[in-house]
């Protein structure tokens, strides 16, 4: 039935099943939308029409915040200013400059998108609360400008055109005054279009990448997703919605004035998103309807209402962070199950029928070394020359040279603090070297971003398992595969890694061993020509280690090169063709595993020299 997941709520504590249901593309939501779209034609009561129109005003604002925050994880407070820009552009061009209203609106929204992108570019290097404050600064500067400039009419504002063509369809009179069906229906129609476009985008490959930066920006980057580009994209799309919101709001009030784009608008926008549920496609509509209904219908003063909505943010944040759309999804499922009990039962049967546990780790015990091959005749794929990095006077890596050949499993070992992680980060681009260069496939990549390296086939994993916890295993793989740009047999890859049975499980619910395994699978799916593995065996049990070794041999036999940082010497000895040893940032030796462990300098590094940090 509806298994395509389009929106994801932060609800790690729920069961996978409920999660899937709530995530499902809700037919209920479509019913809601259709009923909603018919209402302006049926209802003629001014108060009711007013509620519908007001709902759409807030649904648009919330949509813009939901795109940048709910879907892309960027808590931007600049949306009011971005929307205000479109609104004022429309008002100024259409009244003083005599432009046709539609042309003025389009230009206004284009300007919103441009400014939105500019803001995103200026905030690119900021995270968390700095980002929030910087965007707040833009919002306040915008409000300040609107109330002090002459062209915007200062604090009193300017009028917007209300002489739109008037016509009647059935009971629906199409004009623009705030309480007629025309504006309400236009709003619903535009909202439909925006939501459909957004849903289509989120299901696309880049849509998945878009969600991935909210879940884990660093992991996304290691898999070839370009987080800055995704952030800019989020702002561009959010800018469209904000522009529409601004224009729609001034049309509703028939007037553009600074209070419409004030801090309280921002607070209300947050209320609506939180009510509806951040990161839910229909959240803004649900939130907008509830908000507008309450603000018109509650028989209490505006101040008390504001206090009530404030309290609502707090209560929802503490007790029901998934928002109303999530609970509507659950309710819909209950109704659905009641109506189509058979269907639901058969689905349950399907799930029960799946094999509980398939054996995947059927690697035969083998003491034979699969490594220690001489591959020096193969072409060099990755090389480092004179790499050096210091942190505040401590040299973590000094004068490091290496050349890894195609198809090789290259090990890097050394006692704790030897600089393995720094070397790893230098090669993958998460740290810039002070000196030296890294060449990948003949090109100097020293100054190339981690995501660009990943797209070029140099992909890393993390020591602590990093996955997108609120997406399913398969969705994780889809995100990884999109940067490889080729269609892959994802189910086949999952089966190879022994993860086929868990394809629909949320990644956050995997065991430690399986999530580390998924990490390697993600790197492979991201189109890795070379895998950079950071302690893949750390914390694994014996069975998982055996599976890991089989996985790595298979990946190698597929023609991939592997760089392995590892403390488990049996893994190193078994797999590696050559091993490099680091101590205190310096290379001690490089060679075949057996030669290396027999080297007295290596033994000294690990055991002697008065150091007490043997690994």
């Amino acid at each position: 039935m509806s298994t395509t997941t389009t929106n994801h709520a932060p609800a790690p504590a729920r069961s996978t099943r409920i999660q899937k249901i709530a995530n499902a593309r809700a037919p209920f939501a479509w019913v809601l939308l259709i009923v909603w779209a018919l209402l302006p034609w049926i209802v003629t009561d001014a108060v009711f029409l007013n509620v519908i129109t007001l709902s759409m005003v807030w649904a648009f604002w919330a949509l813009s915040l939901n795109i940048v925050w709910g879907f892309a994880g960027q808590f931007s407070m600049a949306q009011v200013a971005i929307g205000g820009l479109a609104a004022y552009t429309y008002a100024i061009l259409a009244t003083s400059a005599g432009w046709p209203a539609l042309a003025a609106i389009v230009l206004g929204i284009v300007l919103s998108v441009v400014v939105s992108i500019l803001i995103a570019l200026l905030c690119l290097r900021l995270e968390g609360f700095r980002f929030a404050i910087m965007t707040l600064a833009f919002a306040l500067a915008g409000i300040g400008l609107a109330s002090s400039l002459d062209i915007t009419g200062g604090p009193s504002g300017i009028t917007v055109p209300t002489d739109w063509p008037v016509f009647t369809i059935g009971s629906l009179r199409w004009d623009t005054a705030g309480v007629t069906g025309g504006l309400a229906f236009t709003g619903i129609l535009v909202f439909f279009v925006l939501i459909a476009l957004l849903a289509w985008f989120l299901r696309s490959k880049s849509g998945r990448a878009f969600l991935s930066i909210r879940e884990d920006s660093l992991l996304a980057e290691s898999l070839g997703v370009n987080p800055p580009r995704m952030r800019v994209l989020a702002f561009a799309i959010g800018g469209v919605a904000a522009g529409v919101a601004g224009v729609y709001q001034v049309q509703y009030y028939a007037y553009a004035y600074p209070t419409l784009f004030s801090f309280s608008t921002l607070v209300n926008m947050i209320v609506v998103v939180v009510l509806g549920g951040p990161g839910r496609l229909y959240g803004p509509l649900v939130g907008g309807i509830v908000y507008a209904t309450l603000s018109v219908g509650l028989p209490i003063g505006g101040d008390l209402q504001a206090a009530l909505f404030g309290a609502a943010i707090i209560v929802i944040t503490i007790f029901a962070r998934e928002g109303l759309a999530y609970y509507l999804g659950i309710a819909q499922h209950r109704v659905w199950r009641g109506l189509f009990g058979m269907l639901s039962r058969s689905r349950r049967a399907d799930e029960a029928g799946a094999p509980a546990n398939a054996t995947s780790a059927d690697v035969t015990e083998s003491s034979d070394r699969v490594g220690s091959r001489d591959l020096s005749s193969q072409p060099v794929v990755l090389s480092g020359t004179g790499l050096q990095k210091s942190f505040g006077g401590v040299t973590a890596v000094k004068d490091m040279h290496f050349a890894v050949h195609e198809g090789e499993i290259f090990g890097l070992i050394g006692p704790n603090g030897a600089g393995k992680t720094t070397a790893f980060n230098l090669i993958t681009g998460f740290t810039r070297p002070d000196k030296g260069s890294v060449e990948w496939l003949g090109a100097d990549v020293t100054r190339v971003s981690p995501s660009a390296r990943a797209r070029a086939g140099l992909v890393r994993t993390f020591q602590q398992p990093r996955t997108f916890p609120k997406l399913t295993v398969r969705e994780n793989m889809v995100i990884a595969a999109q940067s490889a740009g080729e269609t892959q047999d994802i189910d086949g890859v999952l089966a190879d890694f022994g993860l086929a049975e868990e394809a629909e499980t949320l990644a956050g619910r995997l065991s430690y061993g399986h999530s580390k395994r998924l990490g390697v699978a993600l790197a492979a799916a991201a189109g890795a020509k070379m895998l950079m593995l950071d302690e893949p065996a750390a914390g694994l049990n014996a069975a998982d280690i055996k599976q890991l070794m089989a996985d790595l041999v298979r990946l190698r036999d597929q023609g991939r090169t592997i760089w392995l940082v590892e403390h488990h010497m049996d893994v190193i000895m078994h797999l590696c063709d050559r091993v490099m040893v680091l101590d205190a940032g310096a290379m001690i030796t490089t060679g075949a595993p057996d030669d290396v462990v027999a080297d007295p300098r290596v033994i000294e590094a690990y055991l002697g020299g008065g150091r007490d940090e043997a690994a």
Partner: protein
């Protein structure tokens, strides 16, 4: 020349006000890792409380500690009832604080009305020294800001409680393992922050007409100061406040109000472009 010196003196007064607000924010942020956007409303609330107390006949000097105590109680309730339950996800703290903005704004409107109220300043008149006008009410601000900075430094560096606060800010888990009650450290830090908001509110009530939006611009500029200086660093908060205060005062003297209200944001954008973590870099995000 006199104009310049006057601007610098005015800048020092503004800087002191920003510093008091920014230090309150820093302590809260440093320990709880929560950005309390409702800090400005706490400042405003304190100004109204001071107005009510002084018009009821309580001396201004007594009102200062009384308002601070009120704010500490309010801060404790806020932290225990609403910030503590959402501790695990910092963005939720931000949402909660936005909820509080709406609540405080509404209640200030309901209790004191939308019109501005005026409190007579505690000192009358101002003296001229070498052509520079020195208002004793302004000097009081600078003096109290210095006292607060001194007390805070002593508290954080020299006392056991201060050390436990800093330990919590730097590594919660380690602090908890060593027996620090990190939950109470949160409440304490939030209360200290609220008390600072209280002090700022009383001082503002003594200088300016009281309006429902009184604290807003101070909170925003204090935030700007915090980000410029380096969040989580008390020294950074003071340094950032100096930059912002001087920028605003100079722009007010030599530019227009529009310039004065946007200059801090421009400085913020420029600083963040070149030093994304602020002027003073702390080792971790929150360290005090």
């Amino acid at each position: 020349m006199e104009q310049l010196i006057q601007a610098l003196v005015d800048g020092l007064v503004l800087s002191s006000l920003y510093a008091i607000v920014a230090l309150g924010l820093t302590i809260t942020f440093g320990v709880l890792e929560v950005v309390n956007f409702s800090h400005g409303q706490l400042v405003t609330l304190a100004a109204y409380l001071a107005f009510t107390m002084v018009t009821a006949g309580i001396s201004f000097w007594l009102a200062i500690p009384l308002v601070m105590v009120c704010l500490i109680l309010i801060g404790m309730v806020m932290e225990i009832a609403t910030f503590r339950p959402v501790r695990s996800v910092p963005i939720n703290g931000l949402l909660v604080s936005i909820g509080w903005i709406a609540i405080f704004t509404a209640f200030i409107h309901i209790l004191w009305g939308p019109n501005q109220l005026n409190l007579d300043s505690v000192f009358r008149g101002s003296s001229k020294v070498l052509g520079i006008s020195l208002n004793p009410n302004n000097l009081l601000v600078i003096a109290l800001a210095l006292v607060v900075m001194g007390l805070l430094a002593v508290l954080l560096r020299m006392t056991m409680i201060g050390k436990m606060l800093r330990a919590t800010a730097q590594n919660r888990e380690a602090a908890a393992l060593l027996g620090v009650r990190v939950g109470w450290m949160n409440t304490l830090a939030f209360s200290i922050g609220a008390a600072m908001a209280g002090l700022a509110g009383v001082l503002l009530a003594n200088l300016f007409p009281i309006t429902p939006a009184l604290g807003d611009s101070y909170m925003v500029f204090a935030f700007v100061a915090l980000v410029i200086g380096g969040a989580g660093s008390a020294v950074g908060a003071v340094l950032g406040s100096l930059v912002v205060g001087m920028a605003v005062a100079l722009a007010q003297t030599f530019g227009t109000t529009a310039v004065a209200s946007t200059l801090p944001f421009i400085v913020l954008i420029i600083v963040l472009l070149f030093r994304p973590r602020g002027l003073i870099r702390t080792e971790s995000e929150a360290s005090l």
